[in-house]
């Protein structure tokens, strides 16, 4: 059954360029705990990445996209689409994608659109890009997953809601640094997490976000994809799952039969938090920074509301030739400046100024 | 040498004039100048003003000021060249009289800066800079001064404290000027500890804004001789320009417009720098004072600061500057500043400078700069 539902384009496609971005500021989880629990109790991660006062999804997407283009070494005008997936687009109405497209020099002969599906907005843009290129409609299409995630002060999500993401340029398989053998999506109406229009912060169903939401959808998509492409966890060198915290991706990996080493390079949430639409994709860029030709990678996103997109990838020789052309994911992660809770409230516009 | 002479001057104290409006300030200075010249016979009014539109929501100052000064009907316009507006307005009056088309012209520089304070006032002053390429990045006038000062320090190997002499001198003179905004003496050791405005520019490097107005009446020299006992001749008058933005200059540390206008004015006056008895320079920032001295030929490149350090800018020094306190202590009412400078030089040459008097002053120079020095107006006045 799954085999029929495998999303595989007619023309072979792959990732021809990739780029990460993580802002430099870090809020230790202990700071959130200090503020709201008197420092008692456990914390879900070590620290999270926080965007500076002059950063938003647009500026961060521009930098990630420029990094992807540096590695792809293509003329930006040849990209037929610039798609930005996020749940923190700076405008409610006005595309982030046109600003990004303008800044990277892709305009005007291009598609541009913003995507939204909680934390999987980036991977759905990626699927659309696969289809765009795979159908022959485009030579290249740029997909970006980027967020400056919101967390209500004192809420469990405040520890993890972070800023960062990645850009993946999809193009013909012949130019790929990683082939995309197929994709699979798994979606239901599951109200585990949402943000109503005009609300500043999201709401969530607490532990309801786990078993019937995150685990069910990731498992569903991952297992169906592996079945459809005829592979098992042992066939993959690497895997990356959406990372709302440190625990969930490790547990889902174990449930699916992946060893801790397989997810280690892409497991960034303990050090940068949950970058929402960027989370799975920046996990992939971290893996691409260390992977070898021939390595297979399983990538599964999760977006609340709810659904998962799974991808089967294979690294090519070309990766080694372009990897060094832009800053690595680790370069951004290790470029860190710790801030306190007061600075965080200022950077995240939580101070009442009027 | 022009055929134009000053027959009357007037000025208000520079301060926060909470109870006085823009038009009243202008009127008080005009009234004083008319009294000084013993005439009400004015043919044209030139209003130097920078911020009327931004801070008082009032443009069209020519007609407003003329009307309010009882001169309704006469030709009147506002001249704007940022904080060189006053000097530029004075030059327009000189040109008008020199041309023969206007017999007697009145110049009033007026600025009402305290209608707004804080960030809106800083934004208004920043309109002197390049809006598209400087102020959009948050640059302010103080920031511009700081970029110059930091580079000056880097290239010439000087320290913040090496600029202290300019402010110490200005305050020493301002203390003797009853119309100055700040009349406190400044201790050199306090200079380096001043609060930062735009590092390395501190409160003690930067001239304070204030409300004020100054007025000057000019007419043809032969007529002036009949009207007043001691006319002050406009010996040289020149205005030059440069790029608005520092980044467009090939040589950031050289005030090319200041040099050009000073040279032209000195050629007209037939003098050279060593003939100048006092120099009212545009010390909006200490570094601007140093750069002005260099551009106008009073110091070699990179050496302007030495004049302040070596005490050569005092009233008995080689080249006295800021003799009534300068922008730093008298206060810097932006578009009025250039007219204050003319008033002050005229008083010095008339021997009416009181405690601020420079001994035996015969030739005085005033140089008014706009923003980064993109406009430079130099006037040389003399008495025989």
């Amino acid at each position: 059954m799954s085999k029929d539902k495998l999303m595989k384009p007619q023309k072979p496609v792959g990732i021809v360029g990739y780029g990460a971005y993580v802002p430099r500021y870090r809020l230790p989880a202990s700071e959130v705990a200090r503020m709201w629990t008197g420092g008692s109790g456990g914390v879900p991660i070590q620290e999270k990445a926080v965007n500076g006062l002059d950063e938003d999804v647009v500026t961060m997407s521009i930098e990630a996209a420029r990094n992807a283009l540096k590695r792809a070494r293509i003329n930006p005008q040849d990209s037929r689409a610039v798609w930005v997936g996020s749940e923190s687009h700076p405008y409610a109405v006005k595309p982030s994608s046109t600003i990004v497209a303008e800044a990277i020099g892709a305009v005007p002969h291009t598609q541009a659109a913003d995507w939204e599906f909680a934390c999987k907005a980036g991977t759905e843009a990626m699927q659309a890009a696969i289809a765009f290129v795979g159908s022959g409609m485009a030579q290249y299409a740029l997909s970006i997953g980027m967020d400056t995630a919101q967390g209500r002060p004192g809420d469990a999500l405040e520890y993890t809601a972070a800023a960062g993401g990645a850009a993946l340029l999809i193009g013909p398989a012949a130019e790929a640094v990683a082939l995309i053998h197929g994709s699979y999506s798994f979606v239901t109406d599951t109200p585990d997490f949402w943000r109503r229009a005009h609300a500043n912060y999201p709401s969530h169903g607490d532990r309801f976000t786990g078993e019937p939401a995150y685990f069910k959808h990731i498992m569903g998509a991952a297992q169906a994809l592996m079945e459809a492409v005829g592979r098992t966890p042992a066939d993959y060198q690497w895997a990356v799952f959406h990372q709302p915290n440190a625990k969930f991706p490790q547990r889902v990996a174990k449930m699916l039969g992946f060893a801790p080493e397989q997810i280690a390079p892409g497991l960034l949430s303990p050090r940068i938090g949950n970058t929402y639409s960027g989370s799975t994709m920046i996990g992939l860029t971290a893996i691409l920074d260390v992977a070898e030709p021939g390595d297979r990678i399983l990538m599964v996103s999760y977006g609340s509301g709810a659904g998962s997109d799974a991808f089967d990838l294979e690294v090519t020789e070309r990766l080694l030739a372009v990897r060094h052309l832009a800053p690595s994911t680790e370069t951004y992660i290790s470029r860190r400046t710790v801030i306190d809770y007061a600075t965080y409230t200022r950077f995240r516009d939580k101070l009442k100024m009027s | 040498m022009t055929n134009v002479s000053i027959i009357g001057v007037g000025q208000t104290k520079v301060k926060e004039h909470w109870d006085t409006s823009l038009r009243h300030l202008a009127w008080y200075a005009i009234e004083a100048a008319l009294d000084d010249a013993h005439t009400t016979d004015i043919d044209a009014v030139f209003v130097g003003n920078m911020l009327g539109g931004e801070l008082s929501k009032q443009n069209h100052l020519g007609a407003l000021v003329a009307d309010f000064a009882g001169l309704r009907g006469v030709e009147a316009i506002r001249i704007e060249a940022a904080d060189a507006s006053g000097g530029a307005a004075f030059r327009q009056a000189v040109l008008a009289v020199e041309s023969g088309l206007v017999q007697t012209a009145l110049v009033v520089g007026v600025e009402k800066m305290t209608e707004e304070m804080g960030a809106p006032a800083t934004a208004a002053l920043s309109t002197a800079l390049d809006a598209d390429y400087e102020t959009i990045h948050g640059l302010t006038l103080a920031g511009m001064g700081a970029l110059l000062m930091r580079r000056y320090m880097h290239e010439y190997g000087v320290d913040v404290s090496d600029f202290a002499g300019f402010s110490v001198n200005a305050h020493a003179n301002g203390a003797l000027n009853p119309l100055a905004m700040y009349r406190n003496r400044l201790k050199p050791e306090r200079f380096a500890a001043a609060p930062q405005v735009a590092e390395p520019v501190s409160l003690f490097d930067m001239a304070p804004g204030g409300d004020g107005a100054a007025a000057v009446i000019v007419t043809r020299h032969e007529r002036a001789l009949d009207m007043v006992p001691q006319p002050v001749r406009v010996a040289g008058s020149a205005l030059a320009t440069d790029t608005l933005a520092l980044h467009d200059r090939k040589d950031v540390l050289w005030l090319a417009a200041a040099e050009r206008s000073a040279k032209q004015a000195m050629i007209q006056a037939g003098i050279s720098p060593e003939d100048v008895d006092l120099f009212e320079l545009h010390d909006s920032f200490t570094v601007m004072a140093a750069l002005s001295l260099e551009a106008c030929g009073f110091a070699a490149r990179g050496e302007g600061w030495r004049l302040a350090r070596d005490g050569e800018i005092g009233r008995n020094g080689r080249i006295p500057v800021s003799t009534f306190g300068g922008l730093k202590a008298r206060g810097n009412p932006a578009g009025a500043t250039g007219v204050y400078q003319i008033v002050e030089v005229a008083l010095q040459l008339r021997g009416q400078a009181g405690d601020c008097q420079v001994p035996d002053a015969r030739i005085g120079m005033a140089q008014n700069l706009g923003g980064s020095g993109a406009t430079a107006v130099t006037h040389i006045l003399r008495v025989d």
Binding site: T331 | D130, G138, T140, H154
Partner: protein
């Protein structure tokens, strides 16, 4: 609301697009259509690499309206590797680290916003060069 004036400049602001002089080859930023060196027409577009070094710098403590919520912030004159100076904010840097001659690179950031409801103005800033990964 200033929409068109920022829209008009966005190519320059987003990606440092300037001009090159047809006659003497000098690179110009900001573009001004007439060469600063030889005064010949300069209309051919040129995209700067964004690589340069700090020529001078300051930290602004008293900000103009529109920037008061971002103080203190740093502004520099940047000497681009192609020659011109450009005025821009420094970002992602601590004040103590900055020095004349520091290598920097262009990034696109928010310059300011027009209040809560107005447009967001993006443009160039500079930061210490981030190293590219070396294998």
């Amino acid at each position: 609301m200033e929409v068109s004036r920022h829209w008009r400049l966005q190519t320059q602001r987003y990606s440092l697009v300037g001009e090159t002089c047809d006659t003497c080859g000098v690179k110009l930023f900001p573009p001004r259509d007439v060469c600063l060196e030889c005064e010949a027409p300069a209309k051919e577009l040129y995209t700067f690499t964004g690589v340069g070094e700090i020529f001078s710098y300051t930290t602004i403590y008293e900000a103009p309206a529109g920037f008061e919520h971002t103080t203190p912030y740093m502004i520099a004159l940047i000497k681009l590797e192609e020659g011109p100076l450009v005025t821009a904010q420094l970002t992602d840097v601590d004040q103590e680290e900055v020095y004349v001659g520091m290598p920097v690179e262009m990034v696109t950031r928010k310059l300011r916003t027009e209040g809560e409801e107005g447009v967001i103005i993006y443009g160039y800033k500079f930061r210490p060069a981030v190293e590219t990964a070396v294998q």
